[in-house]
């Protein structure tokens, strides 16, 4: 109920003010799952690549964070980044313990965009294969440890 209203406002904002450069709304068919495409602009290791983000909202949104992951399917791959697992799960503190209810879907997109932009070397997180093997469907069920705030 509350989540619907808030998401409606965010959608309205996207519709009137548009999205930041490099971020596009792919689909928002309901108030449970939204998809965005994300591109990193400028001279980065991800130049020319396009990724897709999947947002899942529960009823407690925005008090509780959305479940955000990169889409991994025939069309999209997860970016090769030290904080992104190959199944699309993202280890970013703002999606977990550092989430704040004043953050928005667009704010999350922009943060992830800059996370990708500041990446110097394409690599997977340590223990990627092991994590992917056991990972739950919902990344919110994983308790990540946030240790690196440089990238």
């Amino acid at each position: 109920m509350t989540s619907t209203r808030r998401l409606q406002k965010e959608l309205m904002d996207i519709q009137t003010n548009g999205t930041p450069v490099g971020i596009k709304l792919l689909s928002a068919d309901d108030f449970q799952t939204w998809y965005f495409s994300i591109e990193v602009l400028g001279e980065t290791v991800f130049a020319g690549e396009q990724f897709a983000l999947k947002f899942r909202f529960d009823q407690q949104y925005p008090i509780s964070s959305p479940a955000v992951q990169f889409v991994v399917d025939d069309k999209y791959k997860a970016p090769e980044h030290p904080h992104v697992y190959s199944n699309g799960h993202i280890c970013a503190s703002i999606l977990g313990s550092e989430w704040s209810p004043v953050l928005t879907v667009i704010a999350v997109c922009v943060t992830l965009q800059s996370m990708l932009a500041s990446c110097k070397k394409k690599e997977r997180p340590v223990g990627n294969d092991r994590y992917v093997l056991h990972a739950p469907d919902n990344p919110k069920k994983t308790r990540f440890e946030y240790h690196d705030d440089t990238v």
């Binding site: 109920m1 509350t2 209203r5 808030r6 409606q8 406002k9 965010e10 959608l11 309205m12 904002d13 519709q15 009137t16 003010n17 709304l25 792919l26 689909s27 928002a28 068919d29 309901d30 108030f31 529960d58 009823q59 925005p62 008090i63 509780s64 704040s100 209810p101 004043v102 223990g127 092991r130 994590y131 093997l133 056991h134 990972a135 739950p136 469907d137 069920k141 994983t142 308790r143 990540f144 440890e145």
Partner: protein
Amino acid sequence: MVATDLQSLLDAPDAHDPTDFPPQDVAPGLRLLDDSLRCSVCRDFYDAPMSINCGHSFCSLCIRQALDAKQECPSCRQPATEAHLRKNTAAESAVKAWSESREFILRLSKAEERRHVGDLPAANGSSGHEDSEQRPRKRQRTLSEEDSDAEVEYLGGTSPYFSSRGSATNSHIRAQETGLPSKSQSQSDSPLSEHRSPNSSSVVECPLCQRRVPLESINQHIDSGCTLTPSAGGPSSSRPHASRAGSRDKDKQKAQWTKLFDGGSGAAPPSRRSKEKQKERASEAGEAEYLPKVAYATLKDRRLQEMLAEHGLPTAGDRAAWERRHQKWVTLYNANADRAPADQQSPAQLKRALKRWEDGLRAANARRAAADVDAGAHQRANSAAFRELVEAARPKKAAGTGREGRAGEDGRETTGMQDNSLIIVQRTLDVRKHNLED
């Protein structure tokens, strides 16, 4: 295609947004103004705005829920607790006035925007007549804006709830906390400060329910399970007319009031008198009643059920559901108590809100359960295949004993899964079994 989907989602009956107003170059500051009266959590106009220690304001319900999840300011991350919540009456009256004037301003600004667009061809030289009309009309607009500004102030200053609560409860509490002179204090100096000071120094915050309680009665208050609350501060300091009088007059008046509330008997025993006076004080000041927070782990099932029954809440579901229900109820109830008396909802309305919330939760849980059941069903349906695979892997495993098992355990440790999904549990069980067998 996307656009039409969006449109259907955006079809809200009362959806309003700062972008309803023309952009900055046409209507300077209007979007900002509309935005600044909105809670940054729900993006709606402030509903019972509360400010916290860092100075940020939120709807009472929003900030209470946010603090339940995490004890920090959602905007600046400064540590904050519910004890820091203070009513922001200035924002409340501003929202009230703005909601009332919004339609009007919106109409004016839309007209201005249309004219602005219409001006563009005029600038090419199609009509000088329109151009000449622009200036007086612009002046007119600024004039009417000033009018509405005056209206805003006027409403804020004299709206009944503002004056009654502003002087009675709130400024009183604020004065006690900050030591700043309140409205009622500035009206009369010596007698008030004289009898106010012993009170203000001995008021403490209850560590359990965070209500403000006189120091001398804090023990009784806690012993009574936070139900007995001789409210903080003296009665007369919250009543300007009483404080204006000298101390002798005050006594006389007290007697008169007592007489009035005792139904003329006058000579009631002191204990009863003070109790009656408490009630009188609370009702007169419109003082809101708050529900204390509950440490559910310490409660027996029976007691929790009683507490639900006290508020006429259903006792359906399991213990977790009761706790959820009661906690949500306390939050809804206290947030409602922060509203201006005129805007407060009835218990029945609150219960409906609680039910809506529970229904939503149940629907979400059902969706999740469906997914979980699928996983379990998949596991069962393929159990034969799994067994075969396990059997097939066994000879190979004997060669590299235990390595796989350790990797599995390591994996769980480093990623620290909160939720041991069925598959993982089963897998680790299998691994353990192997280890035992090996």
